[in-house]
């Protein structure tokens, strides 16, 4: 391992501070899903992926990641900055005029680490499949990772992509579903039930594994296991249980913090629950 679990958890604590501070500063953005995926994103960028913060769009020879549920941009930006893609001070410009750190991730302003715009949901898996096919054509044996919201699976394009990947043996792709059971208007089971995602993906021909996304040790191990399953003819699906808003007691488990910013008092409370480990931006 590149880092101990304790070291990774310290990074996560700083990432959580970044998330709530960014969203508080502009009084907009999506803290809930961002907080819930802090362990996963930290594990991916600090442990799992072989990547270079000296950003090159083509990603040749390195593992690459696509965030399909672009609204959890705060956690993406924090992890990119903390792993050296750009200065952490730039996080202060999140969602503000003339910033590269846009509300949703984009290549348009040239922010290092971003390879496709996302925000309009359901498009990331198709894009990732394309990048994975190109890696195969280029005899590039590195991997493609993705993250998707569970509510996002209500978008039909996902199921076109979910059907395509096993048929075409896209086995250099590891997709993760942030299975938190929440979406803007309420619990997914009330809005539009996802039913049994594991059997659905298996029926389409994916190799499905499960994980606890808010347990660093578990997510690190699961991603290592996922890597060992690549190259065997099937795409890999990591069905990752998380809690929306994890790490901030008054946000955890509720859809109410999907897209709401904390006030000054709430920010202070959230920060008191996550220690400053790498230095605030």
């Amino acid at each position: 391992m590149k880092h101990t679990i304790n070291e990774l958890e310290d990074i996560v604590s700083q990432v959580r501070r970044d998330i709530v501070r960014m969203v508080h500063s502009c009084q907009s953005g999506h803290p809930g899903g961002s907080l819930g995926c802090a362990e996963f994103m930290t594990a991916l960028y600090f442990e799992t992926m072989n990547h270079s913060s000296d950003f090159k769009m083509d990603g040749a020879g390195e593992d690459i990641f696509f965030l399909s549920n672009g609204h959890i941009s705060p956690v993406f930006y924090s992890v990119l900055a903390r792993s050296g893609y750009f200065e952490t001070s730039e996080l202060a410009t999140f969602r503000k005029l003339n910033s590269r750190v846009q509300g949703h991730p984009t290549t348009h302003e040239g922010l290092p680490g971003i390879r496709i715009a996302s925000g309009s949901l359901g498009q990331g898996m198709s894009v990732a499949i394309g990048a994975a096919l190109t890696k195969k054509l280029n005899k590039d044996h590195s991997l493609v990772f993705t993250l998707h919201g569970d509510g996002e699976l209500q978008e039909g394009q996902n199921w076109e992509a979910i059907m395509f990947a096993p048929h075409n043996k896209v086995d250099n792709l590891i997709s993760t579903i942030d299975y938190n059971g929440q979406q803007i208007d309420g619990p997914t089971e009330k809005i539009l039930s996802l039913e049994n995602l594991q059997t659905k993906f298996e029926a389409f021909g994916w190799h499905v594994i499960t994980s606890n996304g808010n347990n660093m040790e578990d997510i690190v191990k699961t991603l290592e296991y996922a890597k060992s399953l690549t190259g065997k003819g099937k795409p890999i699906l990591n069905l990752m249980s998380t809690q929306m808003g994890y790490g901030v007691d008054f946000m955890v488990g509720s859809h109410k913090w999907h897209g709401t910013a904390p006030n000054d008092e709430q920010l202070a409370s959230a920060l008191s629950q996550n220690k400053e480990t790498l230095g605030d931006y």
Binding site: D58, T106, S126, V127, G130, L133, N138, E160, A161
Partner: protein, 318 residues
Amino acid sequence: MKKYTYTEKKDTRSGFGVGLHEAGQKNPDVVALCADLKGSLKMDAFANDFPERFVQVGIAEANMIGIAAGMTIGGKIPFTGTFANFSTGRVYDQIRQSVAYSNKNVKICASHAGLTLGEDGATHQILEDIGLMKMLPGMVVINPCDYNQTKAATLAIAEYEGPVYLRFGRPAIPVFTDPDQKFEIGKAWMVNEGTDVTIVATGHMVWKAIEAGEQLAELGIDAEIINIHTIKPLDEEAILKSLKKTGCVVTCEEHNKFGGLGESVARLLSTELPSPQEFVAVNDSFGESGTPDELMTKYGLDTINIVEAAQKVIKRKK
């Protein structure tokens, strides 16, 4: 009137198919994707000769656009192929976010555009695609006029870096342009120099504009005819230069009059050189089933419509 002749009729989609194959031979990074219309798009030769570079996506156009966008990451040059309706309206948001806004080097190649798709009827006859595509920042929009020009355009866009919408069609139409032409994106082609009226045409309407020019010559009217194969970026210089000479214009397109070439020309002229203009285009309507010729007549896209529009617009000159 300069004389144009032809010895054969061919469909523009076949020009695309031949161009795509040649582009594939020239550049190993060219890849092609198709949504279950390989035969209709004439992509068989490419698929047969470069099977590892051909992706059959199935009936899933949104996924096709996303995969194409992703394939550019790592250096591929994807050409997507399906009907114009399914290439644009069906996947507008995928093109907008994953291709245009993300500035990916994807070539969206669209056959069976317009009324001349024929018998399938209005569900398949898109007349809004030029408008949809030209509104996207950074998108190049090309609608070539015959088999040779479509082949040349296909080769040219393979060498251009950035998103492109290439529109072509189903029916066999006269082949009258140079088989060895050099296609310059954004450069109008002067078909005939004249002094009384400018006829600006795109796609299948260019041959009809030539026929109209011949009929107008018999009536003593000297028409300048310009082929605008690239609707965006528009060759503004060529159009303004012509209008300074003729003082009026007829725009011709197999598209809704809203959002098409005619509106691009009107926008240019209204700010730079206000001039009388007539539109030969579909009058804000869906199409219907019928043969291509019957439909072009019923919806006012025939040679006679161009002749009448030219006579009318000349009378409006002060």
